[in-house]
């Protein structure tokens, strides 16, 4: 109980530092634009960025909704497929040896470049962005699921087996719970990647979404609008991150490392 309180206090302190830094940064931004007379088309004042965001709040919220929707569909599919392929790898050495090198190599290459080809295959709509978000997020989940299942010792499996547990039961009651913390770590990474995937996917052709807002503002040279979209993207990513952390605390409550 005492340690829990201490962790809570430390967490609050950390959050307070971050919030203070955020406020300080915002003030510094506002002050710099006023003091140094920085022109609007280089760095607009934070107040005018926020004003622009507020005026266009309906459009901005719509863009956030579209992009988030694409990213989440892809992320959920990615988690499901990633966990399943992690389980498949853990139960077949040959499959693991055949495919895992490619999974690992795929993390070292700009796989997002395939986005252009995905758009050709799946069209301009939600599906293509969801597919990009899917394949970006499922790699880390698959690798961490395998690593997590490998954490289980042979003795533990042997013990459950002597009690007559089936393979499915061992997987469900022992291996997956052990693998949950690394899986959640992967989901945190995957959520960020899914968002990036959806945004970059929108650059290749879309009519709605954060990526479209960013691109349109760039072509129209509207720096204030651009900053509003950047802040919205940051807020969306941060919200997604903390949503995953909250979910982890709820589901894998016995081990939470942020």
């Amino acid at each position: 109980m005492a340690t829990r309180g201490a962790t809570l206090i430390r967490g609050l302190k950390k959050a307070a530092t971050q919030v203070t830094a955020l406020v300080a940064l915002m003030l510094a931004w506002e002050a710099a634009t006023v003091l140094f007379h920085i022109s609007e088309d280089k760095l607009p004042a934070l107040s005018s960025v926020l004003a622009t965001a507020w005026t266009g709040r309906a459009a901005l919220a719509g863009a956030v909704g579209t992009t988030l929707f694409e990213a989440l569909i892809g992320l959920f599919a990615g988690i499901a497929f990633g966990v399943l392929s992690g389980i498949a790898f853990s139960s077949s050495r040959l499959l693991e040896r055949m495919l895992l090198p490619y999974f690992i190599a795929s993390q070292a290459v700009p796989i997002i470049a395939f986005g252009a080809i995905i758009i050709i295959w799946f069209g301009n709509g939600v599906a293509s962005k969801a597919v990009i978000a899917f394949y970006l997020s499922f790699f880390p989940v698959a690798v961490n699921t395998l690593g997590g299942i490998r954490r289980v010792s042979k003795d533990e499996i042997g013990l459950l087996r002597t009690f007559g547990a089936s393979r499915l039961k061992i997987l469900w009651k022992l291996q997956l719970p052990t693998a949950l913390p690394p899986i959640f770590t992967a989901i945190r990474i995957g959520a960020g990647l899914a968002l990036v995937g959806a945004i970059v996917g929108e650059w290749f052709g879309a009519s709605r979404g954060l990526g479209v807002v960013l691109l349109t503002a760039m072509f129209d040279n509207q720096v204030t609008q651009l900053w509003a979209a950047i802040l919205a993207t940051g807020a969306t990513g941060t919200a997604l991150f903390w949503a995953v952390v909250a979910l982890q605390k709820k589901i894998a409550w016995w081990q939470t490392e942020v």
Binding site: Q18, Y102, P110, A113, A116, W203, A217, M218, L226, T233
Partner: protein, 265 residues
């Protein structure tokens, strides 16, 4: 049985084991590659896919060899952006980490700012960088520098901090000053963490270079991908995608190799 004989036998088995290990590790991925390539060709042949949906591997290689000079220009443009940003970012990240460890106060001022800037996905700054710095390489290099330095900074800080306080106290009793402690104890201890950060960062650098070029560039693999899809020249897009994959793997392998040399323990 003399001990020499046992040794010889053991080493013989050792060699055999190494060979077996290679065999076991190499053939399954090769098999997967063969299955993939055959499946690829068969799919095209069976469904009679036009090459704008899926060109065959042979077609892609042929297209790549047709204009080797342009491919080389694009590849080198991307690699230069990625490497310049990566090297500068690594130096900055490592420098900041050492600075923070030496002067603790400043960290509390600068680190939260860094965290805040990096809480926005770096690609979202892309359009802004293009407006402010133009479509040349500098816009890409700046964003790569920010992303890489953050990654290296976080890992290096964790590594430098993980040092055993007892060891520091021991060196201090021997009269070691701060610099000696940093050079002889903290930095070597932090090397594995730093190398991990630099390995992750080199991947980020290549990804960012390719993705940012898609927004606009004079040359580069990402630019080539974007341009060829807009012009419906899909084989060309596959060439650029393939080149970026191969180049990334090579760069990653090099960084990995250097890391193994430096962190041999």
């Amino acid at each position: 049985m003399s001990s020499e004989l046992v040794d010889a036998q053991a080493s013989g088995r050792g060699e055999n084991a190494i060979w077996r290990r290679w065999y076991v590790l190499v053939w399954p991925p090769l098999l997967a590659a063969v299955i993939l390539l055959t499946g690829w060709e068969l799919t095209i042949w069976w469904f009679k896919l036009p090459n704008f949906i899926l060109p065959s591997p042979a077609e892609i290689v042929e297209a790549a060899l047709q204009e080797p000079r342009r491919l080389l220009t694009d590849t080198s443009a991307t690699v230069v952006e990625a490497l310049v940003g990566y090297l500068a970012g690594s130096v900055l990240g490592l420098g900041l980490a050492i600075f923070f460890v030496t002067f603790g106060r400043i960290e509390r001022l600068i680190l939260p700012v860094y965290v805040t800037i990096n809480s926005v996905p770096m690609v979202a700054y892309g359009p802004l960088a293009i407006i402010l710095l133009g479509i040349g390489p500098s816009s890409k290099i700046l964003l790569i520098l920010i992303a890489v330095s953050y990654q290296v900074l976080i890992n290096a800080l964790a590594g430098l901090r993980s040092c055993d306080p007892g060891a520091i106290a021991l060196l201090r009793t021997f009269g070691a000053n701060r610099r000696t402690i940093l050079l002889k104890l903290r930095l070597p201890g932090a090397m594995p963490a730093i190398m991990l950060g630099m390995r992750v960062a080199v991947v980020h650098a290549m990804i960012l270079a390719v993705v940012l070029e898609m927004l606009g560039a004079r040359a580069g693999l990402g630019w080539s991908v974007y341009k060829s899809t807009q012009m419906m020249n899909f084989v060309e897009a596959w060439v650029a995608v393939g080149a970026s994959v191969i180049v990334s793997l090579i760069i990653y392998a090099i960084v990995n190799g250097i890391g193994r040399k430096l962190v041999w323990w």
